[in-house]
Amino acid sequence: MKADLKELFRQAEEMHPEMMKEWQFLVDRDCGPDCKEGVDRTVRDTADFLEAIGFSVRFHVYENAGNMLVAEYGDMNSPFVVLTGHLDTVFARGTVAGRPFAEENGRVTGPGVLDMKGGITILLYVCKILAENGYDRYPLKIILAGDEETGHARSGAAGDYLKEARGALMGFNLETGFTDNRVIVERKGVFQCRFDTEGIGAHAGNNPEDGRSAVRELSRKVWDIEELTDRTKGTNVNVGVFSGGTVANAVPEKASCVVDVRFRTNAELERVQRGLEKIAASSYVEGTKTTYTPIVRVAAMEKLPGTDELFSRAEKAAEESGLPPMKADSVGGGSDSAYLTAAGVPTLCALGVKGQYNHTVREWAEESSLTERTKLMLALLMKL
């Protein structure tokens, strides 16, 4: 490859107007959870873009959710780098018509402008610049999901992610960037479930001895549930809501609670889940029965042994290239990076355009971060 990083930066700057057009094109199409055809058209258009610059493309097709695009460049038998993101947004059909892509005073607005059509634009142009300059340091694999916002609940995308990521050397997720340049090296996972306990109702005055209190049973379980908390491992188990009974003078027949689990490693979630299942299966008040229903499960983006090293190299690469200094951070709130780390791939997340207020009408992105973050990605892929 002849061009140096400086030359690539120059090309990135030159492409800014073209990138803005691509960004607008991506934002101005409804890609919400109720709009599979919009997501799929964007998957197709994005595939065309990558195919035109020499990538070979494949699709994972799902019946009830946006499809997944996989695009490859180079010899995939050698250790490769994954660039990833998602093409869907949280906004319902019709949002674009009322609130299309707009730019004012360096701030860009529109549905998904930050989360994460800006990151996708960067990803596409990084690929374009590298491919056009004959990039040959690593093979590249692009994985773009079509149903991240719904947690892949209606597709097999989670499993496909794991398969596609396996064997990668490192991964970069162009998710929502932070205005203070934090780069995410770890995301806690979230698991939520409910317990529904059924006892035997009775009148508290007339036949209390016939009653089997669901409230008492679940109260005792609350002790055990909260005991699963292990702060030394970053695990927090919280019984957030508890309700039961109908009137004071009846032994309560029903009680339920909702539990939230935050965890740093997926092994911890497994431990907690085993514990919760055990708690549900046993009973203290004889004659009560409890069912346990998982509601939400977002895997943790784990910090792997290689993550710190990846970050410090990235930090150095950014510094050497005259880009703003980065900070490593751990946050709550999931992303698809969890599947990369689950496949054993050290990953940096939140490398997309910078801005604020995801998932709201106030969502905005910093226009200048489009070029800045394109340069950062070029620096990482050229230097690491």
Binding site: G205, F242, G244, T246, V247, V259
Partner: protein
């Protein structure tokens, strides 16, 4: 025909009229907080009692119907109290949704069992005796209109106590039981709330700052319910719980409503103290707990004379071929608490027989309306002999 036979014969020939009166009462919407319905019930009952020669006093309240005190004869001599309540536990509009109906010998509708059937018996027994030419016994009728919410709108408990003084005996026409028993004792009920104030936090961002009100309450519920001792005749129930708002926040607040039943009035202060002791302990540091009283009922005391009165009722049943009522201890409260506390021998649950009070499945045995009216007429004739 003797007086009793005449009274029985009146009942036999007025079955339709009695059912009509019952239906009229069930149709009146005297649910919780429906003052105009309570007033309407009072007017209906007062009209009938006036025609039977009673003089009526009314005590009025802002938020519920009047309490009626109806007297006939000299109150200077030992008199008989016939009592009950005219309200139901249901909310406004229930009689429209679920009007009085009879199917296969069972009557349905709001308050059909608790206790509009009993009020019908009370008035019908007086009328049967009147028609039989028997009216020379001093009798006081007390009917109130906010028994179901434990008299939170009136001073009926004090009023009943005051009006009971000097009475020879009392009959409360509350919900009858299908085993025909009469209640000689009722448990008291202390209702209370426990509130725990913790500290909320977002579980993702700063879990270590949370102080879970739910976890604290979970400990207290177990400890409070441990106070139950059936062998001592008391039990406590945490009946309702509400805590927290969303899964991902440590719950800052949790509230339970408890119901403590006790047989012996002297246990109440001891139990109160035990509850307060439990609530003064803290399992989750940094949480605070508050105990506050809710409405409740005193015990209907088992006076030895209650059993004498029961024997009289049993004799009346035997002599007339009715099922013989056994003595019952009942867990639920009633206004009989306030006559027994004044030492007035009392039998409760003299109303129509049925089951499923306070639910939409509430039903009453229609035949028991006639049988128990006759039985009460027979009992009143016997009581007169003992006065």
């Amino acid at each position: 025909m003797n007086t009793k036979e005449k009274a029985f014969s009146w009942v036999d020939s007025h079955r339709d009229e009695m059912v009509d009166l019952w239906k009229q009462m069930v149709t009146i919407d005297s649910g919780i907080g429906v003052k105009e319905g309570g007033m309407e019930m009072g007017n209906l009952c007062a009209g009938i009692l006036e025609r039977l020669g009673f003089s009526i006093r009314r005590v009025s309240y802002e938020k519920c119907g009047d309490t009626l005190i109806a007297e006939r004869g000299s109150m200077d001599k030992p008199f008989v109290i016939l009592m009950g309540h005219m309200d139901t536990v249901f909310f406004k509009g229930e009689p429209l949704r679920r009007p009085f109906t009879i199917k296969d010998g069972k009557a349905y509708g709001p308050g059909v069992l608790d206790m509009k059937g009993g009020v019908t018996i009370l008035l019908s027994a007086l009328q049967a005796l009147e028609e039989a030419g028997y009216r020379d016994f001093p009798v006081k009728v007390i009917l109130d209109a906010d028994e179901e919410p434990a008299h939170m709108y009136s001073d009926a408990p004090e009023l009943i106590r005051k009006e009971s003084r000097g009475a020879a005996c009392a009959f409360n026409f509350e919900t009858g039981f299908t085993d025909h028993g009469l209640v000689v004792q009722r448990k008291g009920c202390w209702r209370f709330f426990v509130e725990v104030f913790g500290r909320g936090c977002h579980v993702g961002n700063d879990p270590e700052n949370g102080r879970s009100a739910i976890l604290e309450m979970a400990h207290k519920i177990i400890e409070i319910e441990k106070l139950t001792d059936f062998s001592k005749g008391y039990n406590v129930n945490a009946g309702t719980i509400e805590g927290g708002t969303v899964a991902n926040a440590a719950p800052a607040y949790c509230k339970i409503e408890c119901d403590f039943r006790y047989t012996h009035p002297e246990d109440l202060p001891v139990l109160r103290k035990k509850v307060e002791e439990v609530c003064s302990r803290t399992w989750v540091p940094g949480t605070k707990t508050k105990v506050s009283d809710n409405v409740g009922f005193g015990t209907m005391q088992k006076l030895p004379e209650n059993m004498d009165l029961l024997r009289l009722a049993q004799q009346a049943a035997e002599e007339n071929g009715f099922p013989v009522p056994g003595p019952k201890l009942c867990g639920g409260g009633s206004d009989a608490a306030y006559t027994t506390v004044e030492g007035v021998p009392t039998l409760c649950a003299a109303g129509v027989e049925g089951a499923r009070n306070h639910t939409v499945e509430e039903w009453a045995d229609v035949e028991s309306l006639f049988r128990r009216t006759k039985q009460m007429a027979a009992i009143l004739l016997k009581v007169e002999e003992t006065l």
